[in-house]
Assembly symmetry: C2
């Protein structure tokens, strides 16, 4: 894995880079559509590639481990082949899902014991197990097994949790180093900075993570309910410590506004369920702002969803038709809204990249954060 | 509207025709995907055209009248423009839905009073109202308002109901003749033969319908629970009476086997929710037979869904992946299965047409009915 910074904005910490993986190059900043169980919901693989122009997708270790299970993934030769996606894949370690979905979870030094949210069956995730699973999934980017602290989180808990996350990271690194990639292509580990909203813990964690010398680094435990100012402050602090010559990935963030602000702080990679999940509830992200398509005002608006964005869903279908589909719970409503939102998210990070390259990012960002956040 | 029979099978009553409408020509025999509320469920309009190769779709007067409502359809310039579909559309009259979905329905000589299944609001459908709505929808083919008798149905009820259906037809024809097409292009009325499973009623009805001299004719009230032999017997009887120079449409039929058998009896047009509805439950129709993809046996079958069929969904996705999606209730599962089933249905009628043209339909049909009905 190789990362080159191709351009820097001189009025912010934004940069444009190229991250090269065994499954191709990714132009950063980038947004990674979430395909939790091996499918970006309501989107065909060819749409992901040709309409949305996704360059990398994210999938989830916890979900894939439970279903379809690693035996089938191994037989298929990895997730890329199982789902038919030739570009890079990043897998979340499952840490977050074990805390948010699984039942009867018990966090020990060794790892986490939990029961499946599907059938109640007992399982244990340790740093070693989680690396092994991600090896078999065949992820290009493997995330370290961590504890994602909730918000609010007491200082004492955050500090103890951070020690556990760091201890687990050491074991993840050791496991990565002592195992090889099952399908022959390179797989890279990204460690994760934690520390809740405490500056000293974040600083300590960022230094520990930076010292690992891994090909990329992530910031976790944000966008879990804290005020945006806290999120931005922690991101800025951590980006200042993480190495500038490695990609920085801010996990689970966020709104179009959040993404633009965090690009300005030096983040290169993002993922979030918002564009896909909110699409299924009728919330559209567009170049003009946010639309709740269920609103009566769109009832007879026969104009295209987002003419300025371009592309199939945005120009072919009208607001009135999409509203009709969403109100009627038609599957096509989820399909169209998801295409719109993901196409917009990928367009947004692509535009940010172009502006960095052109040297006009800061002005554009300051104008754009207002546009993308307004309710239409 | 123009119908030309291009070829006839000499060992059955099958024929290959071309039905020309204002929105283009349809090669018969044809299957019409069902887009009840203006969307063929889980399918983008471009997929309907390019992957499935649908030549005409069916939509529903009852559903469209309730939502989005005729005002919006009128403002859009008709359903074609509202949904973005340039090829022909046939609308069911809503008769069947008034009986099967609406509440508190009351059948009177004048029409049917009912309450909406959505919000309980009161409405009345008369033959005149139903023609007017279909005019505004802009359907190329408008179906007459009829009573679809259930199965089983007592002779006395079937006879009285048939009289009502015929009286309503006379009013539908009068309304068609006294109104004009709102968007300038031609709209044609298809009357519907009823009569349950009683030969004398079917005969009487077919003669009455044939005498109307409309551009096409339909057979209703079948595939409502009667044995297949009854359905075939009634279809054969009616096809023998309906004019040979007009298309014959068998409503709501059916399985691939039913369709092949009824093509052999002289039917030209079909519609059925089976390929779309069953897709969403994981039932696949393929060139090799029927697959219940939820079955354990497909768990690690990494072969394509239906290599012989060709096309995107059938060759790109594996059985194991589709099973995983369906088990996980992923929307993409419904999308893939629907593409598979509709592509297969359209392929099947296309093949039937080719065999009629080549003069080998009967042998092919006798072999094929066994293949398509077998469980894999």
């Amino acid at each position: 894995m190789d990362f080159k910074v191709a351009a820097r904005d001189n009025r912010s910490s934004a940069r444009a880079g190229i991250l090269t993986t065994a499954h191709g190059a990714i132009e950063t900043p980038i947004f990674m559509p979430v395909g939790t169980a091996g499918s970006v919901k309501a989107v065909h693989q060819r749409e992901l590639e040709s309409d949305i122009k996704a360059q990398i997708i994210l999938s989830n270790t916890y979900h894939l481990y439970l279903r379809p299970g690693i035996e089938i993934l191994q037989k298929a030769g990895g997730l890329h082949k199982f789902i038919g996606w030739k570009k890079p894949i990043l897998t979340d370690s499952g840490g977050y899902q074990v805390y948010s979905l699984a039942e009867n979870r018990k966090i020990l030094q060794e790892g986490v014991a939990f029961k499946s949210h599907i059938d109640g069956s007992p399982h244990t995730f340790t740093p070693e197990v989680v690396i092994d699973i991600q090896r078999v999934i065949g992820a290009d980017i493997i995330m370290a097994f961590d504890e994602c602290t909730p918000y609010p989180c007491e200082y004492g808990y955050a500090r103890t949790s951070l020690e556990l996350t760091h201890a687990w990271l050491t074991r993840c690194v050791a496991r990565m180093d002592s195992t090889s990639a099952p399908y022959g292509y390179e797989q890279s580990l990204f460690p994760i900075v934690q520390g809740s909203i405490y500056s000293d813990l974040r600083e300590k964690s960022a230094e520990f993570i930076a010292a690992q010398g891994q090909p990329g680094n992530a910031i976790g435990g944000l966008s879990v309910g804290e005020p945006h100012e806290e999120m931005y402050a922690m991101t800025e602090l951590v980006c200042g410590i993480l190495p500038a010559d490695k990609p920085r990935y801010l996990m689970g963030v966020g709104t179009p506004e959040n993404i633009l602000e965090c690009i300005a702080l030096g983040v290169d990679m993002f993922d979030c369920v918002m564009p896909t999940r909110n699409a299924r509830n009728g919330m559209l992200f567009t170049t003009q702002g946010i639309i709740n398509i269920r609103n009566e005002k769109w009832k007879d608006d026969l104009s295209p969803l987002d003419e300025a964005l371009g592309g199939y869903a945005s120009t072919f279908y009208s607001k009135a038709y999409l509203r009709h589909l969403v109100i009627n719970k038609e599957i096509l409503g989820a399909q169209i809204a998801t295409l719109q939102n993901l196409t917009f998210y990928l367009w947004l990070v692509g535009e940010a990249r172009r502006k960095v390259t052109e040297g006009t990012f800061a002005e554009w960002k300051n104008k754009m954060v207002k546009v993308v956040a307004q309710r239409l």
